[in-house]
């Protein structure tokens, strides 16, 4: 099965990249954009088909490696 991990900066943590994109979009005329946050997307291809097991394992991967939980938070989505 596949896992999609979305990693974003925690609220309150400065996101210079998001600010730069926001600024660029508005100077391109997209003035209806109020805020931009840039994060990471990690797609994993897993050998298992056990949903609960996969969820626990991906969570462990996030905590140990994929996310820097000091400044980032993550969300996991699983799909066949």
């Amino acid at each position: 099965m596949k896992a999609k991990v979305s990693i974003t900066l925690k609220r309150g943590i400065l996101d210079p990249q998001g600010q730069a994109v926001l600024h660029a979009l508005s100077s391109l005329g997209y003035t209806g954009v109020k805020d931009v946050r840039v994060g990471k997307l990690i797609e994993l291809d897993l050998a298992t088909h056990d949903r609960a097991g996969a969820e626990a394992e991906v969570k462990a991967m996030c905590e140990r490696l994929l996310a820097n939980t000091i400044i980032e938070e993550y969300r996991i989505e699983l799909m066949e």
Partner: protein, 248 residues
């Protein structure tokens, strides 16, 4: 070098080799070098444009992605379309790719880290305004300093680049062999620099302005800057005047 030659050097927020280019062009090569602010929508009178290295807009999103929308880039595009010479170094190369003035795109270095060191380059085409002072096959030593110099183009584009001799520099060993080990960043076909179809726009990752001055121990970069200045002097690359109503 005649004092009448004028090179314009673009300055984006986050450019950081702008002053280095100015020093190399003016103090070392003896031409005139003027800064052009990114907010300008018209170029002043210049004979060639250098887009210097650095981290325009912090390299946020993708290298060169935001800078290419600066007003000055529209003016540079018109200048190039009229035949003017444009040299993009490092971040300048990345901006030219994002702007579509050169084909392909830049990916992160294979090692995923920034790399600053001397590399060897083989001159693949010495018949360009940027390399006319070099010999075909000559091996130059130039420094690189980038995190995203892993050049990519699709197969069709690569074939076209090769067929038309648009690959100007390849990473090589000190004896001029193009090998995977000599490739510092994973770039396709060891490509370090290319020109556009018309041959008047060069993008390269290594920094000729960092090795133009004998004091820094290497003058190979002079060859590229000297080629550029001599090409201007030859008069063959003077941008053709564009009438206002012709600009669509």
């Amino acid at each position: 070098m005649s004092i009448s030659l004028r090179v314009g050097i673009l300055v984006f927020p986050g450019s950081n080799c702008d002053r280095d280019c100015q020093h190399a062009v003016s103090q070392v090569m003896g031409a005139k070098a003027d800064f052009i602010w990114h907010k300008e929508s018209m170029l002043p009178h210049v004979d060639a444009v250098i887009i210097p290295g650095g981290f325009s807009y912090g390299d946020y999103l993708r290298t060169g992605a935001i800078a290419r929308f600066s007003p000055v880039m529209a003016a540079v595009t018109r200048f190039a379309e009229a035949g003017g010479l444009v040299l993009g170094i490092c971040n300048g190369f990345q901006i030219l790719l994002e702007a579509g003035l050169l084909p392909g795109a830049m990916l992160r270095n294979r090692s995923l880290s920034f790399l600053c060191k001397d590399v060897h380059l083989r001159v693949e085409n010495a018949d360009t305004p940027f390399t006319r002072r070099c010999k075909p096959g000559q091996v130059l030593t130039l420094p690189i300093a980038h995190g995203e110099g892993n050049y990519y183009a699709d197969q069709a584009t690569l074939a076209k680049l090769k067929a038309r001799n648009q690959v100007i520099f390849r990473y090589c060993t000190k004896d001029g062999e193009v090998t995977p080990e000599a490739n510092p960043n994973g770039s396709l076909d060891n490509i370090a620099g290319i020109v556009n179809d018309a041959g008047n726009i060069l993008g390269l990752m290594p920094h000729p302005e960092r090795c133009a001055d004998a004091l820094l121990g290497n003058e190979d970069g002079r060859l590229i800057l000297l080629s550029l200045l001599e090409a201007i002097k030859s008069g063959r690359y003077a941008p053709k005047p564009v009438l206002a109503h012709n600009v669509s």
